[in-house]
């Protein structure tokens, strides 16, 4: 399969359809689940899909080491290339990694101002025309609404899509009666799209619980394959 075909047939097109065309610039999405269910895999798959479309991505991480994140990308790329029998995979790979930057913020309690300042420096001074920002490891339970407001303003000002992961911790219940993660309750205005990941028999089911202002009860026809860690129909 050639690259264009692969983009067209990606299961992520279904996700976009459910978001009525996609997340859209200036908007924030969050993928929520308990630890170890597959948030990072999903985010990396979403990022890789953008990279296939030659859209630059910045991957922000608060916790992981750089080589660990790069391994995620390598694994997801390999699985996609294998599954779709991608033609000239090595060339495609070399092309797409040029559009990916990983930014790590190691210290606990790095201020959102500092993160945004560095992101802006990367985009402007580094001349890196990112459209998508992936933010993994941001702790919603220890942050304030003001942090998310800053991210939202930033996304709008620079025309970015921002994808967060949100870790769900502690005792049940983790969700309200509409299926919205409780930890994100304070951030409903800033977050446009929320997708949850939950175990369902041997699959991990993706569920869109909020899409651009409306909460949609109902499942996405998407799962996360626990073996390849790819999003699949």
């Amino acid at each position: 399969m050639v690259k264009t075909e692969l983009i067209k047939r990606s299961p992520l097109r279904i996700l976009e359809k459910a978001m009525r065309g996609g997340l859209g610039r200036g908007n924030i999405a969050a993928l929520a689940s308990r630890k170890g269910v597959g948030k990072t895999a999903c985010l990396v798959h979403i990022a890789t899909d953008k990279l296939f479309q030659n859209k630059p991505v910045i991957h922000v991480s608060y916790s992981s080491r750089v080589d660990y994140i790069i391994n995620w990308y390598e694994d997801i790329f390999k699985e996609i290339a294998k599954k779709r029998q991608l033609e000239s995979a090595v060339t495609v790979h070399d092309e797409i990694i040029k559009n990916r930057v990983i930014m790590n913020f190691k210290q606990e309690g790095t201020q959102t101002e500092q993160v945004l300042k560095s992101l802006e420096a990367m985009i402007r001074d580094g001349n890196f025309a990112a459209e998508t920002i992936i933010i993994d490891g941001f702790d919603f339970s220890r942050s304030s609404r003001d942090d998310l407001k800053q991210f939202k303003t930033f996304a709008q000002r620079l025309g970015l899509e921002i994808w967060f992961s949100a870790s769900l911790k502690g005792n049940e219940p983790l969700f309200d009666d509409k299926g919205l993660p409780l930890v994100l309750k304070n951030y409903m205005e800033e977050i446009s799209v929320i997708i949850t990941l939950r175990y369902q028999e041997e699959f991990i089911r993706l569920q869109m619980v909020k899409s651009h202002g409306e909460t949609i009860p109902g499942e996405l026809p998407l799962t996360l394959d626990p073996k390849t860690l790819l999003i699949a129909e």
Binding site: M103, Q107, A121, F128
Partner: protein, 696 residues
């Protein structure tokens, strides 16, 4: 003299350039009665500090080569590895670190934790070297040891704890208060050799007690006994010493000493600290690779009875012949015994076994025990080799040697100096594995290669000074390569019949890109259309063609040639005819195979305060670089990028001005990457012009 393992220390003295490391080392040698007269680094007496063995170092006031020397303090034996402090010589630093058990991090009381300190400290961390800090130059205007200790905590993330507080600073600096014994320690005599201990002066008591409390708080984390003793108010000096030692060995505590090496203050207490808190060889775990078991890790035991294992960490071509510095990790090495170099597989006999003092040979010894650092004479080996007692087949982890990244053409005026030049080059390449040299077969120019502009500068200086060879240098150059992107067929006949013996050879086959390796030749000729004896001639002909690409004159790599058919003539075919046929077949086909130019891409790491991250991003972007990742840890930032080497010349200067000298970078070769077409055109044009001049 034999020393028990527990009384042995192998230490390094690491520091930012100009923080007084060499002066400090000099004082240590003096107080240990090794030398009897103190010379200054930039000495008026023209002798220079003993550890700086080279003229150039004396003049610049810096230390380039590390020398190992042994001293005795009380009844402890201390091997001191003097490590250079400049970034372009990190191979020297890294090799020295490999054999250290502990280190003293020297900081300037005015300059504090500088960028170089950060680099050096990271290197120490990488090799898990426990360390003490010594805040030097308390006599300087603006000295502030408390601030420097805070920087150790903030900038380097150390759990730094003051073991002393100063008695007076700047002009009034007299000594220190030892927070363990609570004595005021001052230094008297012409060279501060008399240590006086007295009561803490009244005006300093409050501060001293406060800092002692802080110290006890931090230190008691490492000892339950001390914790209890504090509660019961039964603290003893030994309990504190023991706890500090434990904390230091676990690398979770950095005891901070202070003084002024130049004014002879505080050095003896630092020596006490080295023997009390830094590890002995038995405190450090060492592993080696078992070559019989595919490099499986095995532990080495610091037991003199075991078969010996030692690591070559430095070669030096001194006035008395080649010296090989080794660190013995296991067993005992005796004069006259046979050892095996596991890299080369060669056995050799230990002729002379020597202990070194700066650059003068010290004493011949008959045996050396594990844990020690000694030198051998006249052994043919390379840095990083492992010597074992025959019967063992293990290697120490290879010392990491980066690839040279820059080359420079050099030339001399006449024949006489060119002999001296080759002598100099021969010596430098033996001493320093990152310095390489060769003669370009094309231009007949001597090319030197190294780790950076400054690295090569220093060697050019040394050629002028030590060997009296004035050299002219060209512009630094990048090693380009060429390759092809398409598979093509060829069918070429070489025919020459102009009187005398004719030449005839026909070759048919394919040329295609090869992803791994630089050249592969496949012979698929059936039916003897090319006689067997001429197949190697064809191979030779193709290889000759690869030496010089048509686009830039640089070698061609990544080529697979398959010979499928051909034709020969009973009389006119010859070795030469087929060589020519193959070579010209390649030349003729090359342009059809869509050739392109490759350039070395470097892995570049820039480190500095995070406030300059934006400047660093833009400087990399301007250099056709790709930022791979960035990391921010508080105020510290690191940017990893891939940048073409050709864009990196002068980057040190650019970075300095972009970041007020607060950031620094390292780079190493990563891969060859395709040159973008606009730049490729420029390169080809330049090559055309050059060829035009030569009338080629």
């Amino acid at each position: 003299m034999k020393t028990e393992l527990s009384k042995m220390r192998n230490i390094g003295i690491s520091a930012h350039i100009d923080s007084g490391k060499t002066t400090l080392t000099e004082r240590i040698l003096f107080y240990c009665k090794k030398i009897h007269k103190i010379h200054e680094v930039r000495g008026k007496d023209g002798v220079g500090a003993t550890m700086d063995s080279m003229e150039l170092e004396k003049e610049r006031g810096i230390t380039i080569a590390s020398a190992a020397t042994r001293v005795f303090w009380e009844n402890y034996s201390i091997n001191i590895i003097d490590t250079p402090g400049h970034v372009d010589f990190t191979i020297e630093v890294e090799r020295a670190l490999r054999v250290l058990d502990g280190a003293v991090l020297v900081l300037c009381s005015v300059g504090g934790v500088q960028s170089q300190s950060v680099t050096v400290d990271r290197q120490l961390k990488r090799y898990n070297v426990p360390r003490l800090a010594f805040i030097n130059k308390l006599d300087r205007v603006g000295a502030d040891p408390i601030k420097v200790k805070e920087q150790l905590i903030e900038k380097l993330g150390h759990n730094a704890v003051l073991m002393q507080v100063p008695i007076g600073l700047e002009d009034n600096h007299q000594g220190v208060i030892d927070l363990v014994t609570m004595e005021a320690v001052t230094f008297e005599g012409a060279n501060g050799e008399i240590v006086r201990r007295g009561a803490t002066p009244e005006h300093l008591k409050a501060e001293a007690y406060e800092k002692r409390e802080e110290m006890l708080d931090a230190v008691s984390m490492f000892s339950d006994e001390l914790m209890e003793a504090i509660l019961e108010d039964k603290v003893t000096e030994n309990l504190i010493y023991d706890a500090v030692r434990r904390g230091t060995l676990s690398q979770k505590l950095t005891p901070v000493f202070m003084g002024s090496a130049y004014k002879n203050k505080g050095i003896q207490l630092l020596l006490d600290g080295i023997t009390r808190y830094l590890p002995c060889p038995a405190d450090t775990e060492t592993t080696a690779l078992d070559l019989d078991k595919e490099g499986e890790k095995i532990g080495l035991l610091p037991d003199p009875q075991k078969p010996s294992v030692s690591l070559v960490f430095k070669l030096e071509d001194g006035p008395y012949g080649q010296l090989t510095y080794i660190r013995i990790y296991q067993g005992t090495i005796r004069k006259g015994e046979e050892l095996l170099n596991t890299r080369s597989g060669k056995k050799f006999r230990v002729g002379r076994l020597i202990r070194m003092h700066a650059d003068s040979v010290e004493d011949d010894i008959s045996e050396a025990l594990c844990g020690d650092i000694v030198a051998l004479f006249g052994i043919d080996c390379a840095s990083g080799d492992t010597f074992v007692k025959p019967g063992l087949n293990i290697a120490m982890t290879p010392t990491y040697t980066p690839e040279p990244v820059i080359s420079l053409a050099i030339s001399t005026s006449d024949k006489r100096t060119s002999d001296k030049l080759s002598k100099a080059l021969n010596r430098f390449t033996k001493e320093d594995p990152t310095f390489k040299t060769y003669v370009d077969p094309e231009s007949k120019q001597t090319i030197i290669q190294g780790m950076g502009e400054l690295h090569l500068d220093v060697y050019i200086e040394r050629m002028k000074r030590e060997y009296k060879v004035p050299v002219e240098t060209g512009k630094p150059e990048v090693a380009y390569r060429e390759t092809i992107s398409r598979k093509i067929d060829f069918d070429y006949t070489h025919k020459k019949q102009t009187g005398g013996a004719g030449q005839f050879g026909r070759v048919i086959g394919t040329i295609e890109p090869l992803s791994e390796g630089s050249y592969e030749f496949v012979d698929n000729v059936k039916g003897g259309h090319i006689p067997r004896e001429f197949i190697p001639s064809c191979n030779k002909g193709f290889q000759a063609a690869l030496k010089k690409g048509r686009l830039t004159g640089f070698p061609i790599v990544g080529i697979k040639v398959t010979l499928t058919d051909g034709q020969a003539h009973a009389v006119d075919s010859s070795d030469l005819a087929f060589q020519t046929a193959a070579r010209d077949a390649f030349y003729k086909s090359y342009s059809k195979a869509s050739p392109y130019i490759l350039e070395p891409i470097m892995k570049v790491s820039v480190e500095g305060p995070s406030e300059f991250a934006g400047n660093v991003f833009s400087s990399i972007n301007q250099r056709r670089g790709i930022i791979v990742s960035s990391l921010e840890d508080g105020t510290f930032a690191r940017v990893d990028a891939e940048v073409p080497l050709s864009e990196m010349f002068g980057y040190a200067t650019t970075l300095r001005s972009l970041t007020q000298g607060k950031a620094e970078f390292t780079m190493e070769f990563l891969k060859y990457g395709r040159v973008p077409s606009n730049i490729a055109e420029e390169l080809m044009e330049n090559y055309e012009k050059k060829r035009g001049h030569k009338g080629d």
